[in-house]
Amino acid sequence: MTMTPVVEVKNLKTYFNTPEGLGRAVDNVSFSIERGRTLALVGESGCGKSVTALSIIQLIPRPQGFIAGGEVLLNGRDIIPLGEREKRKIRGNKISMIFQEPMTSLNPVLTIGSQITEAIKLHQGKSSSEARAKAVDMLEKVRLPEPGRMFHEYPHRLSGGMRQRVMIAIALSCRPDLLIADEPTTALDVTIQAEILNLIKELQREISTAVLLITHNLAVVYRNAENVGVMYGGKIVEMAGVKTLFRNPMHPYTLKLLRCVPGMEKRGRMLDTIPGTVPPPTEFPEGCRFSGRCHREMEGCGTIEPALSEKENGHAAACHLYDPEFMNKPLSRPLLALESARPAPVNVPHEKRTTILEVQDLKYYYPVKKGVFKKTSGYLKAVDGISLTIKKGSTLALVGESGCGKTTAGKAMIQLLKPTGGTVVFDGKEVTGMTPRGIKPYRSLMQIIFQDPYSSLNPRLMVGEIIEEGLKSLRPEMDGKARREKLSRILDMVGLTPDMMRRYPHEFSGGQRQRIGIARVLVVDPRFIVCDEATSALDVSVQAQILNLLKSIQRDFGLSFLFITHDLSRVEYIADEVAVMYGGKIVERGTVEEIFSSPKDPYTVKLLSAVPRIETV
């Protein structure tokens, strides 16, 4: 069956004027979506996915951003030249959008009801009572409990998942022709993520709208889209049906992207990585945008731009690999053996390892204070009696949804927070209840790596000073020369160069900043490191680099990790043991194999079944 597409984007170009020059954020992008179908745009951050979405709905931040060319046809009519009044009639009515952050996309001072009826009254010209009836109907459709009551609620009373349902209700209330979902589930827990995606899919079927799904999560794409466009450097580099793409990725970027994803089958091997990071739009290379990072780069790739063309039936890719003229060209650098072929870090069998950290009945309660005199009226039991052991040279993953107390538990273990109760024994010595002076020797042995590579480095200190801080505090006897030597050695180890010591954190990419964070910790010779979502804020190709780095330092130094995460694919890949946390308690513990093959606790079962998976790889 052939249908006329609802939306057709032709040679769209969206450029940005920046102090560094012209940024070609979206450059010559074309695609179309038919009624009732879903097209997913995937790629790492900075590839132009969101700018493409904003260009379609005509909300490019002006005056820096502008559409430099191309057409956006909605039901056959180009909407770019329309006036602002016309465009407003389209937005929220014909094209609507769901954003990533449900916490900030609803206005906190208006009720849910008034925010839904606003769109209905505006675009459908309905009376207040009709709009109200319609809004309640929509709230029911997105399966919010008690829609009549919900209508009068304010956003702060709702959880993230519920707010995202409200956003969906608003977006679909006018039965749009196109729904743009920009990372709709990225900010949500994995169990809620699946529900939201299913809801979108169901409602899409009901009102047969076209969906443009924007995500960086390949597994989400696999389950929720019919067609996929892989974006890199403001261009679509590969476009195909979802099954075709995952079975037979043609573009080297797509291939690498799929291989970077950690998972059970990659355990014990190094992850495949893409060297470097996505360049900023002002520094995209001349020829193929992926040149410079590509493992199959040939002579000419850096100067001649490959066009997106159909290579097989319905499978298009923009790469010279499939170009007859390039067939016999030599590779510009030797084809590296895939990194995943590197030998597994061989360790002592898990059972024979000795214990480094033993946690018994650890509790951390936040006092809840009330009244003028701030009397403690109760306690919030963030961590409510957890026990676990971590063995030397091994990794324990602590998983659970946000707010379950995993970060608090990690901080209480290394005595960054003073536990309310329970004991932590590190290498045979009890560290709970130690005085600040007594704990100091253990500060270098137990360390923490944080999630956010932006807020974990003081923006006003140079990298050298940041890394040096721990040494100055914990090894005051070390002189400047010895310190500098140690610093350069560690920087080299984490893949940075010593000249970077005199630069400031903002000059580095997210991945490099995370390396700085790791260097800062390694420099004091720790034996146990808490990795608090250490790779969650990174793009998948960079995440692979960091996971490899963590794995290799574990092998080289016999370090033990507590790996706090919500992403189970990372757990399968890196952990030896898993502890599942729910509501401040550990509900299940065991080796990775045990937990993943035969989960016992109902929460673990739910968590595992909610994880989207790619089955064809």
């Binding site: 701030k374 500060r443 480095l457």
Partner: protein
């Protein structure tokens, strides 16, 4: 015999700090040098800095003063019965001495800028002595100035030079602006950071203090304070070698107490802002990381907290600076500002109130005070913004 007021010490301190900063920025390749390199690229900021330096120079000149011995009629030093030297009651500053030509050339009353005649008509005898009809030989006309061409901005009611008065106002403005700031900064940063970082009882006490302070109407507090302390000064009595308090040092004048009380009433805003920011910073991961390294609390505060609230300090202070200079005018208007003899823009504006209601209006007094005030506040804002940007490594590198 030199005379040093407490407010002079503020000016000297600011001067020394400027010299020190300039010296260390010019030397080596340190942090300050980088900051200066960034500021230097901004032409507007450099121009503003030059204006500020000029103001500072005038204020400094006006802060170096000494009393001349009184010379008796016979050309000898005047002495008391005990043989002590007598000094003039009014110490003259370097500025007074440099501009004595303008200062002493007073007219009879108002004259417009660059006028050749007075602003008001007088009854006078015709100058050439010719009789105009019968009876009294008088006419009414604008008399010519005694010193035409001297008074670029005209003269005030008692014939004093307006430009000179405005220049004298610079010291008052600079003292109020910087003196109050010098008092605000340590209070606000110390208490703000402590309240935010330590929390608990410390936070409660500090919050209690600044909530109480800011709930008392500021003007009332200032009035009460000035009535108690503002009486000091160096007026009164025959000035001889012996009866000068502490030799040459004059501990308090009204301007000094004005700075103190304005500092006390206005540190609370900044303190509140810093407390809020510290609460946020305290939970940031780089602070947590420092804690995990066992870094001591004073060091965390000095390295991680204070540098990251400095941008707020600068913004707030620059905004307050303008407010303070204006507040001086308001307080002089209600009669509790600096002493009326002291040159200040506030006093000028205060007197201009009546002058403006004349017909035709005497506008140059107000315009001149306003222009001088504007020329201090605007560059202070521009330069403050430039310094803030230069202190932020993100912006500093971004523009390079």
């Amino acid at each position: 015999m030199p005379v040093i007021l407490a407010t002079d010490l503020i000016i000297y301190a600011v001067f020394l700090a400027t010299v020190f900063l300039a010296f260390s920025a010019g030397r080596g390749d340190g942090y300050l040098k980088q900051v200066w390199r960034h500021i230097r690229k901004d032409r507007l900021a450099v121009a503003s800095m030059l204006v500020l330096l000029a103001y500072g120079g005038v204020a400094l000149m006006d802060s170096i003063r000494w009393r001349d011995p009184v010379v008796a009629e016979d050309g000898k030093m005047a002495r008391t019965a005990e043989g002590e030297k007598i000094f003039s009651a009014e110490p003259l500053s370097l500025l007074d001495r440099a501009l004595s030509g303008v200062k002493e050339k007073t007219e009879k009353t108002f004259s417009a800028p660059l006028a050749r005649r007075l602003f008001v008509k007088e009854t006078m005898e015709p100058q050439d002595g010719k009789a105009v009809g019968a009876g009294l030989q008088v006419i009414r006309d604008y008399p010519p100035l005694k010193y035409p061409g001297t008074h670029l901005l005209g003269t005030d009611k008692v014939g004093g030079d307006v430009l000179f008065a405005s220049l004298k106002g610079i010291r008052t403005g600079v003292v109020i602006g910087t003196g109050t700031t010098v008092i605000i900064i340590p209070f606000a940063i110390l208490f703000g950071v402590m309240a935010g970082y330590f929390g608990g009882v410390t936070d409660d006490v500090i919050q209690y203090v600044y909530t109480t302070l800011s709930s008392i109407p500021g003007v009332l507090l200032i009035v009460a304070f000035m009535l108690i302390f503002g009486g000091g000064g160096y007026e009164g009595g025959l000035v001889t070698e012996r009866n000068l308090l502490w030799g040459f040092f004059v501990p308090g004048d009204r301007l000094f107490w004005l700075c103190v009380i304005m500092g006390i009433t206005s540190w609370t805003d900044l303190c509140r802002i810093i407390r809020g920011e510290t609460l946020k910073l305290r939970e940031l991961e780089y602070v947590q990381a420092a804690k995990a390294f066992g870094v001591s609390r004073p060091r965390i505060i000095a390295r991680h907290i204070v540098p990251n609230v400095m941008h707020l300090v600068l913004i707030t202070l620059v905004l307050q600076f303008s407010g303070l200079v204006l507040a001086e005018a308001v307080l002089s208007y209600i009669g509790i500002g600096v002493s009326p003899q002291m040159g200040s823009w506030g006093n000028m504006i205060n007197t201009a109130r009546l002058e403006l209601s004349r017909e035709p209006a005497v506008w140059w007094n107000l315009a001149s005070a306003f222009a001088f005030m504007f020329a201090l506040v605007l560059p202070a804002n521009i330069f403050g913004d430039a310094v803030r940007d230069a202190l932020d490594p993100r912006l500093r590198m971004g523009r390079r």
